[in-house]
């Protein structure tokens, strides 16, 4: 009874929409003023918050400026210094390493999602557990992992000592491992996000396709690699772009956990930019580095999109 009423109301509103709404809609969309009205607020916000600051930071990069006093125009000097700055390229290398690890970790998330999506017991609960890190703020995650990594009283080293390792590493103090020690919480932080995306994509695959494969005698592994994976290829390529771009401009955990230290061993491009602009009071140079970061990110995105582009559209 209830269900019937629901359909009725739905049908009614649809028919009203068809009779009057669509005509009105067409009218609205043919009037340029109306189009402008709809677009203007968003366009204005995006320009004020994104495009204008972008252009400004490129412009500030041409200045010798401490962020407070007068600006002096120095042409491309900041950009040339940036390209020759070994510290900048060290930080760029660290950012690229993070991008590589983020991309590789997508394979793990994908595997987890395939398992979660294949009707195992407790999948629902597990999915929620994987999402928890996403709900925490970066600063909270950083504080949590600072405690985990504490060389004397942290849970990790306490465990290592209890299994007989006498001198466990000083995770955040050793320049040789600090970068990787920070990668782990970063990957952990975003696991839930990617698992959620993959899970949704996998759930979209029609059951009939998988049923057909099963009847034809495909093993679960074959179904995963031959049926499911090709069908969510587009989603995978989007997540690769997301992971790489996100890594290149990554900032928060690193800033809170090590501030790029010790002596730059965990510096990434964004934290180096911040340090220049706000600690060294070198706003002009910091802006130039920020602009270089933008250019690098755009080039990499273009390349990745080209490589992962899929021509055929998948329709079920």
């Amino acid at each position: 009874m209830k269900r019937k009423g629901h359909i009725l109301i739905g049908g009614l509103s649809l028919s009203i929409f068809q009779n009057m709404g669509l005509n009105a809609m067409n009218k609205v969309m043919s009037n340029k003023l109306h189009i402008a009205l709809y677009i203007a607020p968003a366009l204005l916000l995006v320009s004020v918050l994104v495009f204008i600051p972008l252009i400004l930071s490129g412009y500030y990069g041409l200045m010798d400026w401490d962020g407070i006093g007068a600006k002096t125009f120095i042409g491309l000097e900041n950009y040339i210094n940036g390209i020759q700055d070994s510290k900048f390229w060290d930080s760029a290398l660290h950012s690229f390493l993070l991008a590589v690890f983020s991309t590789l970790s997508l394979a793990i998330y994908l595997a987890v999602s395939i398992i979660l999506a294949s009707k195992i017991k407790g999948a629902d609960l597990l999915r929620k557990i994987y999402l928890i890190p996403m709900l925490l703020s970066s600063v909270a995650i950083a504080q949590l992992w600072i405690k985990v990594y504490n060389p004397s009283s942290g849970i990790l080293n306490t465990f290592l000592r209890s299994i007989g390792i006498e001198n466990p590493p000083n995770w955040l103090a050793d320049p040789a491992i600090v970068l990787f020690a920070i990668f782990i919480p970063i990957l952990w932080q975003y696991a839930g996000f990617y698992i959620l995306i993959y899970y949704a994509a996998l759930k979209n695959i029609p059951e009939s396709l998988i049923e057909a494969a099963r009847i034809d005698g495909a093993t679960p592994f074959q179904i995963a690699t031959r049926i499911k994976l090709p069908l969510i290829k587009e989603v995978v390529s989007v997540t690769i772009v997301l992971a790489i771009v996100g890594s290149l401009k990554y900032f928060d955990l690193i800033y809170v956990m090590t501030a790029g230290g010790p002596n730059g061993a965990s510096e990434v491009m964004a934290s180096y930019m911040y340090k220049l602009a706000f600690n060294s009071y070198n706003f002009g140079y910091g802006s130039a580095i920020g602009f270089l970061l933008l250019i690098i990110t755009m080039i990499v995105t273009a390349i990745v999109r080209k490589v992962t582009a899929t021509k055929e559209r998948i329709e079920y």
Binding site: K32, L33, I35, A36, L37, A40, P41, L43, L44, V48, D66, G67, I68, G69, A70, I146, Y149, N150, P151, S152, S153, N170, W171, L172, A173, D174, P175, V178, T258, A259, G261, P262, N263, G264, K275, F278, N279, S280, Y281, N282
Partner: protein, 433 residues
């Protein structure tokens, strides 16, 4: 064609309305001065949540000032430390600084003074505060002979130690560097990490380097190296860097100190995991009056002046310096009132700060007339007998060089740099200025 035109008109109208709303906020604030009331805007960085005692003293002083000066009201804005720094910078670019605000000494001042944002305060000091400050404190706010800040705090660095832990292992507080090494070895043999150090912040390690440099090279060597009349390649300064690495090699500092923040090191000291901790007097309340720290711990903490090194050095020479001070904005429309308020504040703060907030003010304090914990009285005594106070190196240096200094300190402590490379990194950075 018509559509395009409307689009332009529309978007410019929207932009204009946005601009209007943005302006109206600042426009209304100046209105109060018309009604005979003078409003002095004051911004400070002691929020009620994290610095309750400071916050209360400030409010009392403001209330007293307003009562004594009919027609002048103080418009207060309070932010926490880092937010304060950010906001000050943003306000300065729009020429909108508060009439009175807080600043740090030396390097921090430079860009603001260079941009003509802070008013010279020599007249205020001459008229109202002559001979009020501990020598060397107001000078830290001077550039080219003109003073731009009135210091509120003074901190000196001492080596705090846990007497109970020393007694437990039958050890005595070291008076020389050699004895310090022995104590370090003794604690290490007992499996106790000797010295709490959070060198992720790097200024903490800088304190160790500065003291070693002071003991080995005398009060002036480091200052001269920074102001370019000397050099970081001075044998005493290279030797100081070598001593730092000797301490590191003896495992004097807690595990992984380069990855620990000062807060974490502090909590190791305060939870009796490490018996020694080099820190400034801003931590004194934790060892004396702070009720949330166990009484037993507070009773067991004592301090010593930094030991002599190789039989050299004056233990009455300190590393330290003023913390925050007051500035008056050059562009202020109520500059006279602002200056009066700043002078009033400094005087009142000097009278109340130690007793009520546990802060050692930069103005001279008559310890005998106050009811203070013994450790405060002792430290104030040390201050009166101080032969020299060397300002924190990262504060002395320009922000650019300070960053190089801090990075190099981490590298030196992490054995990534030799003392010679450490000296050279400083020389390179300073010669670029």
């Amino acid at each position: 064609m018509g559509g395009k035109k409307t689009l332009t008109v529309l978007s410019s109208a929207l932009a204009a309305s946005l601009l209007l709303t943005a302006c109206s906020g600042s426009g209304s604030e100046d209105a109060s001065s018309a009604s005979g009331e003078t409003e002095v805007k004051f911004m400070h960085l002691w929020p009620e949540g994290s610095s309750k005692k400071h916050y209360d003293v400030v409010n009392e002083i403001i209330a007293d000032f307003e009562a004594e000066n009919e027609g002048v009201t103080i418009d207060l804005e309070v932010l926490s430390n880092e937010q304060y720094k950010d906001k000050l910078r943003v306000l300065s670019t729009s020429g909108d600084l508060p009439d009175v605000g807080m600043t740090w000494a030396a390097g921090f001042l430079e860009p603001y003074v260079g941009g003509n944002m802070f008013a010279p305060l020599d007249d205020v000091i001459e008229e109202e505060l002559s001979d009020a400050f501990v020598p060397g404190t107001a000078e830290a706010y001077a550039l080219d002979g003109t003073t731009y800040g009135l210091p509120l705090e003074l901190n000196i660095v001492s080596l705090y130690y846990n007497n109970a832990m020393f007694e437990e292992y039958g050890l005595e507080a070291p008076e020389t560097y050699e004895e310090l090494l022995e104590v370090v070895d003794a604690f290490n043999e007992e499996g106790v990490q000797p010295i709490a150090l959070g060198n992720r912040d790097a200024w903490t390690g800088s304190l160790w380097y500065m003291y070693l440099a002071d003991r080995l090279g005398g009060a002036d060597t480091l200052n001269k190296a920074i102001d370019r009349s000397g050099s970081f390649e001075d044998p005493a300064l290279v030797e100081a860097a070598a001593k730092v690495q000797e301490l590191v090699d003896r495992d004097a500092f807690v595990n992984g100190f380069n990855g620990l923040a000062d807060e974490e090191a502090k909590s190791m000291f305060m939870s009796e995991q490490a018996p020694m901790y080099l820190i400034a007097t801003w931590d004194l309340p934790n060892y004396t009056t702070n009720e949330s720290v166990p009484q037993e711990f507070r009773d067991s903490v004592d301090y010593m002046n930094f030991p002599t090194v190789d039989g050299e050095g004056d233990t009455q020479s300190f590393v330290g310096g003023p913390g925050v001070g007051l500035f008056v904005a050059e562009e202020s429309e109520v500059k006279e009132e602002a200056k009066d308020f700043a002078a009033y504040f400094v005087k009142a703060w000097g009278e109340q700060a130690v007793e009520k907030a546990g802060v050692i003010p930069a103005t001279k304090v008559d310890a005998a007339s106050l009811d203070l914990p013994q450790m405060y009285i002792d430290i104030l005594d040390e201050l009166n007998n101080a032969s020299n106070i060397t300002l924190f190196a990262d504060v002395q240096m320009s922000p650019d060089t300070a960053q190089v200094h801090l990075d190099s300190i981490q590298a030196l402590f992490g054995n990534e740099m030799t003392p010679e490379e450490f000296a050279k990194a400083h020389e390179d950075a300073l010669s670029k200025e």
